[in-house]
Each structure stands twice: as C-alpha cells, then as structure tokens.
C-alpha cells in the first residue's frame, strides 16, 4: 500500500469532471465560457485564474491524466507516456532532439524544476526592440505571486555530485555561478523529476493549478487533440477536436466540437502555431510559425575517479551565467551552463560512438558527469530561429537551421565546459560529438575541440525549451498577438504560452511562461467578467 497521498486520485474521487476522450463512443459537443487548449505552464495557470473568476472553463489535453501510481520511475514507461514522440521529437533534419511533455501538466509534469525569472536583459530587449510594455517593474508582481503559488524558493540541500562539478569548476576558474531555485514542496531529493514526480513534491501544473481549476468546476478532456479553429469575420466560432485511441496516438474517428465565448491557446510553441496554421489564421505580420527558438544545447561528458551517480538527487541546482555576459546580448551568442540528470536510456542515445567505445562509456555511468550549454538564440541579427509548418496530413513539423553564429558559440561552449570539467578534477572529458574521443588533459581537449567539424548529425544538439512562433508585437504588422496575448484581428482568441516570446528567454523558461500567463489570464478574466 502506498503511503503517498495521490491528489489526482483524491480529486477524481470527489467528483472532478474529467473525460478521457478515447472512451467516447459518439461525436460530442461541449459549450464553455473559455476553452483552454493545452494544460502545461500556460494552460494550467490560465485555468486556475479563469475558473476561480467564476468562468466556465473547459481544458483540452492531448496527453493522458497520470495518477501518482503511473509514475513508476522507469524511463521505458515515462518517455512514451509523458513526452511528445517518446522524448525523441526532432527537427525536420533530425539535427536537434527535443524534450517536450505531453500529459496533463505538459512539460511541467516532467521538467527538472529549474525556476528563473525572465532575465532583465531579455525584458530590456523586448521593451526596446519590440516596444513591449513587459518591463521588470511590470512583471515583478506577477513573478512574486506565482512564486508564492508554486513554492518557488532557494533549494536548501547541497547540490548532488553532478551539479557540484559545475560549482567546483567555476570556483577554480573564478567564474560566477549560482544556485537554482526550484518549485518543490517536501522534495525527497530523489532525482527522477524527468519521469514524473512520484511524491507530488514538484509543484507542477498537475498538482497545483489544474486541481484548483477542477475543484472550481472546470472540466478536463484528455486524449483529445485540438485540430482546427473555425474562423469567421474576426472571431473564432468553434473548435474541432479529434478523440485519440487508448494509446493516445491516432485519431479514433470520434469528433469533438467546442463552442466557447473565448479560446485560449496554450499547447506549447510547436503545437500552438501549428493549430493556428491549420486554422488558416490571417497572418498580417508574416510571423506566424516563425522565430521559433530552442535554446539549442550542446553537451560535454566527463569521467571522474570518484562516483558521480548523476541520476541521484535534485537534477539541476547549480548554474553559471558567466558566458551569457561576456559579450553584448545581441553579439556572439552567449550560453547558460547547467547539468542534466543522467539515466541510462537517455544517456545511451545521447552519448556518441558505437561498439566498444560506447559500451565502455556506458559501463562507467556511475562516474559520468554531464554538463550542458543552452545557447541564447534570437538576439543576434543572424539568429532568427526556426519555423513551424504543416506536413501533408496537417501535423506540425519544425525546421531549425543551425547557422554560423550558433556553431561558433557551440565551439566556445565545448571549450568552456571542458576547461571547467578539468578544473573540477575530471580524468577525461568527452565533447558530445561523433568526431571527439575522451581527452585526458585540457590542452589535448582544447586542441581537439578547435578541430571538430561543425556539422549537424556529427555534433549532438538537444533542446528542452521551445519558444516563439506566435510572437507578441506592438501592432498587427509586427506580431501575431499583443503583449496581453490577444490575437491581432481576432475578437475572442488569446495565446497564453511560450509561443508569444519574441526571442528566447536565456534561462529555463517555465517561470517566464507562468508569470506572463498569470498576468494575461488575469487581464482576460477581467475583460470576460465585464463581457
């Protein structure tokens, strides 16, 4: 018997209105004041605000509603159940692998809890270059409110050995570094955040805002894919959805239609632009589906004499922003250093090489440390991001060209990481690139990294942060939505997720999504309350 209370099971027992669309046998129609598409960071926060304002809210989610007992802490369970494309979503050219959630709570259900406010430099660019009113002063109260709501606070425990490498290396080299705040309450420090929090300590949307919305009478449809908005003369007149099969993969033929006063899109920065493209939203600015940012990420592994056990303990607790500040924000790309947790399935597909070299690396997993560098894309004049488009069947796809400014930054990032890892005492360092081998000294690594060919599908690129594609703009010619998330030219359509960011964030984006969604959902609730 479990000793861990399950807030989802308890809520269902007290009468939450949740329907698994895969169980519907006939076409079904719903009506609501507000329909919210997507239940991640943006949708979750919006659902709580709007339902507590007394509005009748309907939530649409493509993924399942996981119960506590579904979190078995096995990679083989978690990736197919909780992630887009089994944690292997990729750009069209397969160069970048994207981790993105697909369950109630979206990516917040499986993220690593890192909580950063939108950096002041990013907000300044939004203000100066894009004329958006989202200054530090404007955003501060929203950050404060959501930080309280989600228990975002300094993490009191010592970093695990994997994160301690970053702190030690930075210390040795005199590079600034800090501790990451986390959205947790009563965290057991297990290290399995990426497989869904089994103790419900992570204050994801799954255990905070969504339960609050359901308690306030919101309804939730799971395994339901929003397919198309019907647009007529400046307003949305309805939403068409597909019920999925019980595996959550394919449309099962049952259609679901929704009619609401207002439509909120929060499916994330790939699915939201795709839904707008399928709906043929007039695109006066030419920005729909454009400027998709990923924080393209390169990695460096290192072997230590002592055990690292990088699967154990809070996965991300130390960061360094040193290399975000060594040049101008719109100059050569800066990068944020962090560490990922290391679990065998994801490690095995991420580590390069084959045969004996791969097996040898895997066998040393307890001694393996991994560091990552998130590139701040979207500020440099030649960093315009990627593009979401539709395939012949209407499914979303993402093209992202890794051009020279990104490659130049990648090489600097491999160098920085190797130097830090050796400074922290690494015996060997391996940039994650097919042409690299484990190097035994910093001079060897430096020399080799300078020679690495800068080509896709040789260097490993990953991303866990998808942003943009429906950017905010001061007027209809400069963006898809305004700073409140209201879609230009549409009376009753808002985008309240990370799609609206005009650049990348330059930090893990969950808190940026929360705070902006909180601000804009609060404004929307006021508007609709007077409607």
């Amino acid at each position: 018997m479990s000793t861990i209370a399950d807030p989802i099971a308890a809520g269902l027992a007290r009468g939450w209105q949740v329907v698994d669309a895969s169980t519907l046998r006939a076409d079904t129609h719903y009506e609501a004041d507000v329909v919210i598409i997507g239940t991640g960071a943006g949708g979750g926060v919006s659902a709580e605000v709007l339902s507590q304002a007394g509005l009748k809210v309907l939530l649409i989610e493509e993924g399942p509603l996981p119960l506590g007992r579904d979190f078995r802490l096995l990679e083989s369970d978690a990736y197919p159940q909780l992630y887009q494309a089994c944690a292997a979503r990729q750009t069209q050219d397969k160069a970048i692998t994207i981790l993105q959630g697909r369950a109630v709570g979206g990516s917040t259900t499986v993220n690593w809890t890192s909580s950063f406010r939108t950096p002041p430099g990013t907000l300044a660019v939004w203000h100066e270059r894009y004329d958006l009113p989202l200054t530090e002063a404007e955003m501060r109260p929203w950050f404060e409110q959501i930080e309280t709501r989600l228990s975002i606070h300094d993490w009191p425990e010592a970093p695990n050995a994997n994160n301690a490498v970053l702190a030690r290396g930075a210390q040795q080299l005199g590079i600034s570094h800090g501790r990451i705040r986390r959205n947790v309450k009563g965290c057991w420090n297990l290290g399995y955040c990426g497989m869904g929090c089994p103790t419900h300590a992570k204050q994801s949307m799954l255990v905070t805002t969504i339960p609050a919305a359901l308690d306030a009478g919101a309804r939730l449809l799971t395994r339901c894919r929003a397919w198309r908005l019907n647009l007529t003369a400046g307003e949305v007149s309805g939403l068409e959805c597909q019920a999925l099969d019980s595996a959550g993969l394919r449309a099962n033929g049952v259609r679901i239609t929704v009619r609401a006063r207002h439509y909120v899109l929060a499916g994330g920065a790939i699915n939201t632009p795709a839904l707008l493209l399928r709906s043929r939203l007039p695109d006066a600015s030419g920005r729909l589906g454009k400027r998709t940012f990923l924080h393209p990420t390169v990695l460096s592994a290192a072997l230590f004499a002592e055990r690292v056990d990088a699967w154990h303990g809070a996965p991300q607790t130390v960061y360094s922003d040193h290399f975000l500040h060594t040049q101008e924000i719109d100059g050569p790309l800066g990068y944020k250093l962090e560490t990922p947790p290391v679990h065998p399935l994801l490690a095995s597909v991420t580590l390069t090489g084959l045969g004996e070299s791969h097996a040898a690396l895997m066998r040393q997993m307890p001694h393996l440390h991994v560091m990552l560098a998130l590139l701040r894309d979207g500020f440099h004049v030649d960093s315009q991001g990627g593009e979401v488009s539709l395939d012949d069947d209407g499914h979303a796809r993402l093209a992202y060209s890794l051009n020279d400014p990104l490659w130049e930054a990648a090489r600097r990032a491999w160098l920085s990481m190797a130097e830090l890892q050796f400074a922290a005492g690494a015996r060997q360092v391996l940039p994650i690139h097919e042409d690299a081998v484990p190097y035994r000294s910093w001079p060897d690594a430096r020399e080799a990294i300078r020679q690495l060919p800068l080509e896709i599908l040789r260097a490993r690129w990953v991303s866990a942060h998808v942003m943009g594609g429906a950017m905010m703009g001061k007027d209809a010619s400069r963006g898809v939505v305004n700073a409140d998330g209201a879609c230009w030219g549409m009376r009753n359509l808002s985008v309240l997720d990370g799609s609206v960011f005009p650049t990348s964030i330059g930090a893990n984006p969950q808190l940026s999504v929360y705070a902006l969604a909180l601000r804009n959902a609060t404004k929307l609730a006021q508007t609709l309350g007077h409607g």
Partner: protein, 196 residues
C-alpha cells in the same frame, strides 16, 4: 505498400511469430539467423506475441546490427542461446518503442528500415551483398561507420536513427541498466510504495 515488401522475405511474418511462440527466444533467433520455418496461421499467434511494426526482415537486420552497435554491452556470440535470447528481447523492445511513436515518425522509421532490407539499396547504400542474416560483423561495422561519417546528411541521419533505436531498446531493459551500475528506482520510494 513499399516495393521492398514484394521481394521474397527471409522469413515471413508468420514464420517469425511462430518461432517466438513455439520455441521461445532461442529457437526464434536461431531461425532468424539460419533460415526459414514452416508456415503457421497468424490467427494462431496470440496478439501479445505479434510484432506491431517490424517484419521478419527488418527484425533480422536490427538483430544483426545490435551486437555491433552495442559492443560488449551485448552478450557475446557464445553461448549462442544467450546471444539469441538478447536479440529476441531487443527486437521486441524496439518494436514496442516504434509502436509508441506518432504516425509520421513511424513512417520515417519504416522508410529507413526498408532501405536496409530492399536488396538494391542494401547492396548500394548499406554495402551488403548477402542477406542480413548472413552478414559478417566486420561488414556491418563498416556500414555503420560509413553512414555515421558520410558527407550525406541523409545517411548520417539514418545512422543516428539506428543508434537511437538500438540503444533505446537495449538500455530500456532493467537488466541492461543494472549491468551499467544503475540502481533503478530509488529505495526510499519503493519502500513508501510498498513495492520493495
């Protein structure tokens, strides 16, 4: 359907399934390597034993690639039954992983696997004159390195796809995870769940 499926397969789907049923891992993969079986009606094969996305020929190719891709993480060629059992388990794991992918991704994987087994592309792109079941390890290694280092993006993407499928399939298994020193779900949680 793809033209590759029209040429004579090494094993039919039924034959492949039958062995899995009748003889378990050993017989199954032995036949994968050494040749065809007598036919059996698909209706007699329980659903749980049926492969969802792979066919006998793509399964054979993946089973042949696995020992080369995974190196000493994979059981050695002797004793044969251990090696064959591992190939069987891996093929099933890969099949399950592909089946959980969205339709567009499944279609791409199936194109990649068809490229491996369609005789003209197998000879020209993979460089194998013989069927996968009779391919030498050195030839498979040569193929993997050629694709990995190819100047053509498409082939490098193909190699990376195979790397992902084989590694994800293998390191998803509890035994493979234990073999690299990974303890699995933490003890505190297991105790709280009453599972330990």
């Amino acid at each position: 359907m793809h033209t590759a499926k029209k040429s004579t397969p090494l094993l039919t789907r039924r034959q492949f399934l039958r062995v899995g049923l009748a003889g378990g891992a050993v017989l199954l993969t032995a036949r994968l390597v050494y040749g065809p079986f007598a036919r059996m009606r698909l209706a007699e094969v329980p659903e749980a034993e049926q492969l969802k996305t792979l066919n006998p020929r793509t399964a054979t190719a993946l089973a042949a690639i696995a020992p080369v891709m995974l190196g000493s993480a994979f059981p050695p060629a002797e004793p044969e039954e251990t090696r064959l059992g591992a190939q069987h388990a891996l093929v099933r794991a890969i099949d399950a992983a592909i089946a959980a992918m969205p339709a567009p991704v499944q279609a791409e994987i199936s194109q990649l696997l068809d490229l491996l087994i369609f005789p003209p592309t197998r000879r020209l792109l993979v460089g194998l004159r013989e069927e996968w079941a009779r391919a030498e390890q050195d030839d498979i290694r040569g193929f993997l390195y050629r694709w990995r280092e190819s100047r053509f993006q498409l082939l490098r993407a193909g190699y990376q796809g195979l790397h992902q499928l084989v590694c994800a399939g293998w390191y998803a298994m509890p035994a493979s995870q234990a073999a690299v020193g990974y303890p699995g779900p933490p003890v505190q949680w297991k105790l709280a769940e009453g599972a330990a």
